[in-house]
Symmetry: none
Subunit: 196 residues, 4 copies
Amino acid sequence: MDLKNKISEAAEQVLLTNGLAKTTTKEIARAAGCSEGSLYNHFRNKEDIFLHVLRGQLKHLMGTLSSLPNLVGKEPVLKNLEQVSLAALGDFSNSMSLICSIFSEPDILLRHREGFTTRNEGPHRANEAVEAYLLKEKQYGRIPEEMDPRAAADLLLGSCFQHAFQLNFLGKVETKEEQTDFVSRVLKTLFPVEST
Amino acid sequence: MDLKNKISEAAEQVLLTNGLAKTTTKEIARAAGCSEGSLYNHFRNKEDIFLHVLRGQLKHLMGTLSSLPNLVGKEPVLKNLEQVSLAALGDFSNSMSLICSIFSEPDILLRHREGFTTRNEGPHRANEAVEAYLLKEKQYGRIPEEMDPRAAADLLLGSCFQHAFQLNFLGKVETKEEQTDFVSRVLKTLFPVEST
Amino acid sequence: MDLKNKISEAAEQVLLTNGLAKTTTKEIARAAGCSEGSLYNHFRNKEDIFLHVLRGQLKHLMGTLSSLPNLVGKEPVLKNLEQVSLAALGDFSNSMSLICSIFSEPDILLRHREGFTTRNEGPHRANEAVEAYLLKEKQYGRIPEEMDPRAAADLLLGSCFQHAFQLNFLGKVETKEEQTDFVSRVLKTLFPVEST
Amino acid sequence: MDLKNKISEAAEQVLLTNGLAKTTTKEIARAAGCSEGSLYNHFRNKEDIFLHVLRGQLKHLMGTLSSLPNLVGKEPVLKNLEQVSLAALGDFSNSMSLICSIFSEPDILLRHREGFTTRNEGPHRANEAVEAYLLKEKQYGRIPEEMDPRAAADLLLGSCFQHAFQLNFLGKVETKEEQTDFVSRVLKTLFPVEST
DNA sequence: CATGAATGAGACTTCATTCAT
DNA sequence: TATGAATGAAGTCTCATTCAT
């Protein structure tokens, strides 16, 4: 692995351990096994490292979402949504503290925003992807005609998002079973049995 | 107003404007119209000021939630939930950047956690309050027997929470109408007409 | 007891406990049971308090020394010198950290010096007093003709002084017996039996 | 000379000039010709600098003492003791204010104590060294059988110590002749001519 | 004479970034 | 490209002293 990636991974680990405020270039260099000066041979500055790490978050979820269009009309809707929800819950849980940290630095948030706007990315894409999926399933008649796809997507991902937030906030970690249980209860409530 | 409150309000304003990372004691003092030294006559340190401001967040939502038990069986369920949702959306929007900032300082988060654990508070209380409300309404027969109160609460508040998060993240501000529209779509999806 | 004395005693206690560097007006006021402002109704400033406390040191030794002239030719010389030595050892031990602290503030030392020069006092007076005593005893023929009174005084008090210093430095406290033993060995060496 | 030594020497000079209480990092940096930040590339903190300087004190005396065992039985006892006494007087005079300053910061004294305890050093070692020397000379029959080596060492070094203390306290500086005179009188009194 | 909040100067320390090697 | 000592700006916090009550 090249040094740039090593730095990036080291930074991610330090950020998750110490928090953005207590993440110093000295610590990143130590974790990456290189000198502080080396950081600047691969990144413009500390913010650049942070943004690089930030852009690498939610990878699992994004992958799942991009494979969603191929599942339309195939696997059971609820099964597909469960996959998405679990991916969301997992990725949100892992990335929450990193993503939230950006609110402590509005300047960086601004630049980050410009970045993902340019690349047509952003956290709201997830909701749009689920909405698009539901819309297509409706055309297939696999979900009720009267369902509002965007609202359903917001409810589903929103509950996962807040759940992940609260776990992080409370310092709790859930087992696989607890996660599945949460997702299943939420899905059952959003899509009562007779409806699909 | 005494200086302690003036400092607290000044700090809140500076925190919202500059973000936690760029909020300095010098700036807080300037905004409060006092000397830096004076901050320390009323707060132990900078963290103490931050936690004080933090504890003052979500006041509107908490007020709405505490009046919820009195509404059981009276106003239409959907109207009650709309009130709660709007309060949540508003308070989440206003407090999001402050609350999220704490993830950049795990040490502070830890202390904050201890604080609200002791006082039996915390952000998850909101979901519990809505859950309790729904449970009682179920006993009144005003919502379907098969509904899972906790899951419904998580879906509802979760969608508001994530929506507020994304607005802050994207730097957008919603009008009253947009907020009402969001809440109404979400509620309609969670409680399809025939169900209540 | 009036407040001025209460403050003075409180300051002495705080100085001995915390050291000069960590002795704050707030702490003195707390120990004296009054407000910080009150300190300034009785002393010009913090230095004034310190000098006041400093001047109160070595009281026991000074008392013993001033009674020394009356003992010339009466009690055995060694017994008189033992009294003086024990008083010196005791007072030096108790006052050492306070007196030494002044070296950390040359400005204060300067003012202190002016003070005791004016009042014709100072730590070197002790040696002079013992010297004067020995001189008189020599005239009485109670100590050898060839003895140098000043040198003898310097040896005796010097050893007590350094001993007290080292105890403080090493954080040790001696029992009455250990003190008496030290003094007796030193006196025996300085005044071998056949000499007196 | 590397920067660490430059800082150390600068600090010693500032400490001797301004006293511990008025020795600031800014002043040390100025005297060392570097930035304040640089201090922290070579020392953990200000206390670390102080302790480093402190440990460098009494070097001359310690050197003289370590060469003492080689002189047993060779040079005249009084000449050897004069060397030691002069070294002690000189080093004590130069280091007194620095060494005494530590009493103003009990916390630092504590740490310093731990340090030299670990390294089996400390100011009391000087007295032990002289005691050991005298003991050996006694075996050579060069000092009276009835002499108490420890007491003699304490008297000799104690008088030098207190003399140096008082000179510093009174703000006086002695010439070489005055020092030699003091030492010679003290030695003559402690070792009357016929005794050696 | 007593109070204690307010002050403001200044101390120590951290840290991202640079640059000569 | 890699290094790491040097930097200097900036931040948090302390504390003796004042003054209005």
